[in-house]
Symmetry: C2
Subunit: 160 residues, 2 copies
């Protein structure tokens, strides 16, 4: 993408989009929780053309119409979100800190061959910090939720 | 402003801002109505730093805190809005048509030495078109309002 496209998308994301980093419970996961990253752009359905333009530029993610007249363009996945944020980060103003923290968390996953309980717990704490940057008040799962899950399931995070 | 700044601001305006063109009643005006142009950017008050950055870049307009926790950065005036829009227009996607129509209407004012009833009425019709582009449903004054005012006040627009 050329500079003006990246700058435009950064402005649009700052104005009307969201970056999410969440701890999601997965009953099929040994460690119980997954870190999910996503970027969402919103627009009225009659103006969804702009979301089509975005999907064409970013080349990942999917578009869906909600029941309330809003169209959402969502990019999910650590790798996908990492690729997009690393391109937009230099141009973001409002959400730059979120982007930087998200990139740091995402790169952690790339650096380890296996997610141990200790690593997941440390990442979960970073996800908590991210939630604070996002002024998120209805966070379902925190590092504490993960810690409690470990304790109930006799998973011992090694201090390393 | 450099290209990436203009592209960023265009993206931010598309995502979270508004361009307005309105017919405003002024009891001290012989023709009764004034065309008012404005650009408004919104943000939560705890994030108003971005609006300060914008005001620093655009060098016009003023910032105010609303009672509902939202901060507004407003640029009012045909000349001021014209200067800003002519810089952003090439980078706008969602609001490009609005910007182009606004620039056309604004330049009309620059081309005439005196606003006659006929000119005001023609401009008012363009303002009506603008309202349609903005999906504005609560337009107070339209070309028709102006026409009725002229008729009540015995102002005769010359057909020219």
């Amino acid at each position: 993408m050329v500079e003006k496209t990246k700058a435009y998308i950064a402005g649009f994301l700052d104005g009307d989009g969201s970056i999410f980093l969440q701890l999601v419970y997965r009953k099929d996961y040994i460690l119980g929780y997954q870190v999910r990253a996503s970027i969402v752009f919103y627009q009225k359905q009659d103006q969804r053309k702009i979301l089509r333009w975005l999907i064409h530029k970013l080349r990942v993610g999917y578009l869906r119409d909600r029941n309330d007249g809003i169209a959402e363009y969502t990019i999910v996945g650590l790798r996908e979100v990492g690729i997009i944020l690393s391109q937009l980060e230099p141009y973001l103003l409002l959400k730059r800190k979120q982007a930087q923290l998200a990139l740091r968390i995402i790169s952690r996953f790339g650096q380890v061959s296996r997610i141990t309980p200790g690593i997941l717990l440390r990442i979960a704490k970073e996800v908590d910090k991210f939630g604070k940057l996002n002024y998120s008040k209805k966070r379902l799962n925190t590092a504490d939720t993960v810690r409690k899950y470990f304790s109930t399931h006799k998973i011992r995070p090694r201090i390393d």
